[in-house]
């Protein structure tokens, strides 16, 4: 699942992961949209979520995922420009598995996703 209010960023991430053989994506525009789509899909392997989004931001969404029994075991990686140490530490404490700092090169996304999924 790719959660980002930017269709450009969703497209870029999909292109990177499609080239690696991933072929099923669920896209969501913010945390609220993502939670609704998680309720309809019980086979999500990984969530990549932006931080700065309207309606529900990435940190609020992360907390919602990690406090919901049905979702809490899904690994979450934050994709963010927020590379300040305190914010990254907070996300990891809440339960994020990893983080990707924007701007990024394709190999960063590829390597982190593979590492999280053990692929």
């Amino acid at each position: 699942m790719i959660v980002d209010d930017s269709m450009t960023m969703r497209k870029i991430i999909k292109q990177i992961l499609t080239a690696e053989g991933f072929d099923r994506f669920i896209e969501a525009e913010d945390g609220n949209d993502a939670l609704n789509k998680l309720r309809l899909n019980d086979d999500v392997d990984l969530i990549l979520t932006d931080w700065n989004m309207p309606q529900m931001d990435g940190m609020t969404f992360l907390k919602a995922v990690k406090s919901t029994d049905a979702f809490k075991n899904i690994p979450v990686a934050m994709i963010t420009t927020e590379s300040a140490k305190e914010e990254i530490i907070e996300a990891l404490k809440v339960g994020a598995k990893d983080y990707i700092v924007k701007p990024f090169k394709p190999d960063i996304v590829r390597d982190k996703v593979k590492k999280i999924l053990g692929a």
């Binding site: 930017s6 269709m7 450009t8 497209k11 420009t81 300040a84 924007k102 701007p103 990024f104």
Partner: protein, 161 residues
């Protein structure tokens, strides 16, 4: 205003264009816009910032450069300004401001960034609020010229640089 306040925005702009647009922009000499209404472009991505640093940051460029940036980011050729182009420019200024935020944070200055907006229209300019300093950082590149405009309140934190 201490002009050093624009340095994080210069660093984040260069990093963004090198990493996600695959171009190396060449920075010109930054200057204070004494009459912002004369700084006209076709496309502006604007994002508000609030906190120790207060105001807005914008990427301003012409249509052709906006189309080329979008094509290079997404791999999709664009002939006119559509929702994807607007979104790409919004994401560009979001990344520029967000990356700069991290550099400010490392110096103990904090701010929050808003959701970006994009203005499209021939020869428009951006307005300057009273009590702010409007600085223009010009860039040249292989896909055209653009500028990063930084309009900030003249606060104590910014004077600290």
């Amino acid at each position: 205003m201490n002009v050093d306040v624009i340095n994080p925005f210069i660093h984040s702009t260069v990093n963004f264009f090198e990493t996600m647009v695959s171009i190396s922009p060449r920075r010109g000499k930054p200057y204070i816009a004494k009459d912002p209404s004369r700084a006209m472009t076709d496309v502006s991505g604007v994002i508000g910032i609030t906190g120790d640093v207060d105001g807005w940051v914008a990427i301003r460029l012409n249509r052709e450069t906006a189309l080329e940036i979008t094509a290079r980011m997404t791999g999709e050729e664009k002939k006119y300004i559509d929702s994807m182009v607007r979104d790409a420019i919004a994401e560009a200024v979001n990344i520029v401001a967000g990356s700069a935020k991290s550099e400010f944070s490392n110096k103990g200055q904090r701010f929050t960034i808003a959701i970006p907006t994009v203005v499209v229209g021939d020869d428009h300019s951006l307005s300057q609020a009273r009590g702010t300093v409007y600085m223009i950082i010009p860039f040249e590149s292989d896909i055209g010229s653009f500028s990063v405009d930084v309009c900030l309140a003249d606060t104590k934190a910014q004077n600290r640089g």
